[in-house]
Amino acid sequence: MSLKSWGGYPISKSIEFKFENNDSLKSIILEQESVIARGNGRSYGDSALSNNIINAKPHDHFISFNEEQGLLHVQSGVLLSDILNSFVPRGWFLKVTPGTKLITVGGAIASDVHGKNHHIAGCFSESVESFRLMLPDGQIVECSKLENTELFKASCGGMGLTGVILDATIQLKRINSQYINQTTIKTKNLKETFDTFEKYKSSEYSVAWIDCLATNDDIGKSLVMAGEFGNDGKLGYKSKKKLTIPFNFPSFSLNKWTVKIFNWLYYGKVKNTTSKQPVDIDSFFYPLDSIGDWNKIYGKNGFTQYQFILPMASSYDGLIEILQTISKSGKGSFLAVLKLYGKANDNYISFPMEGYSLALDFKIEKGLFDLLDELDQIVVKYKGRIYLAKDVRVSKAIFEQGYPNIDKFRELRKTYKMNDKFNSLQSKRVGI
């Protein structure tokens, strides 16, 4: 079958394997030369693509819930949205959630995903009590921060390259409202944007939409959004109805539109420099999920997201240089999201580190990869790195420079013979 992930590029010819139980999974792993696990295919690029795919999504049983401790045990194919449907009305939420709820628990662990509260709560692995992993020889091991810690640190953020995650116990957090009190702050330039992030550092959640086409003194002009869960006891959560985009849009440039949307928000909708309003969970955390297959608006050639992070010390200079380069290229981005991150964890190849991260969407078109290569050079110069969950084209050399623990990761892969068995198009490209 032909298979693609969220960006719609590349399209790979793959054989898909499903498993009924651990025994059948073991035989697939033993029999096939090389495989990679796949969740809901919401990674943008080629992390979950290869000739042989193990589809973990149907593996979606809830196993148990410990009400006192908020510990939920689920199989790896369970979607975060399923967890919310069952547990928000009962006053529980995910400790860490990315900007889409349509991902599996396995995918959340494998990319060690993060969200708007990274500066306070860290990555998804912070909420993982333990998980079970099937190794290349079919053996099943329990991994946690106390048990098989090396495998735990390698698998959280390990992009499926250590084995297949079977099930996991995750810690939920208590909430007493399905509303978030959101403060929106308009900033005029990057300096103001940074200051605002610092000022709201103790807010549970924060993120900014940034105008990538702003020039000169306006560079870094943003809408910063900070928020905290409310406390009104309203938990009546029902997933929003989806709008759907039924077909691929013709490939025209989206720049004009995006700039217009941003400007409409910046100059029109958000009247004051600072404004406050309550927002529900879906609108606050998952604004894009309500537009069904919005990825199709980029046309059938697909798109990619370029997400990098720079260490705190070089964030300001690096971002200015990158924003200038993008603005000059005229290839502005539909969505550009800026965020201040908290401390890095000690998982081998997790993406986050303390500093600023920018994520930009680009339509795949001629000249794009040249621009991204140029951006790579700046990222590396400022000691930053690229997020594999979004990536589809980064080179081995650029990738390695950003991840100092990559050799440890490679060694562990060799020790367990994982490099013979678990490979994605991406892992081959970046040489891990």
């Binding site: 196993i63 148990s64 399923d82 449907n85």
Partner: protein, 243 residues
Amino acid sequence: MSYVLILGAKSDIAKAVARKYAENGYDLYLVARNSNELEAFAQDITVRSQKAVKLIDLDILDYDSHQSFYDQLKEKPLGVISAIGYLGEQEKAQADFNEAKKIIDTNYTGIVSLFNIIANDFEKRKSGFIVGISSVAGDRGRKSNYLYGSAKAAFTAYLSGLRNRLYDAQVHVMTVKPGFVATKMTADMDLQEKLTAQPDEVAEDIYKAQQKNKNVLYTKWVWRWVMLIIRNTPEFQFKKMSI
């Protein structure tokens, strides 16, 4: 709220339907052969929805057991949904009557035996709903699966008659005609993506249509039109076709 009885509970469609009803507040009787194989699934529903799930064994071909099966249900169900089905192998069934009989009895005779019992009770109580999952294959016989198709055609006719009979008792009967559904049963077939539904889409359709007392549900909805064309193709032409 109270129980919905789901027959053929191991099928992928039944599982999706079970989750849908539990999510909407119903308790469940899940009925199948070797129903203990559904323990992990029952646990899944309990954790997701905090609803009661009871597993009950039943062999749809063991007609003599049907009355006692129904009698033992202490709390009678609000409604029943049958997802029982056996596709069988058309070519084998042409050569071996045992296979043909198994197709007919599983898809038709067995369900009639059980539905009669349930229908009589619902009629007496003047409440309840009955959902039968039939198939578009019953809309017109084709060489590739007419044994399965003819059993489903009989079941469709049965449901239509039952709907008519129970109308006065305010018991609603719904006929579901799925087209292609991506399930274990069709795992080896090469299905056209645009015409193929996922089990949870089918479940969503069934739940919504049942709540609205729809009579006949095609799912995906395009199948209503696909089958309209197939049914109206003249026989002299149809008999030459390979579809």
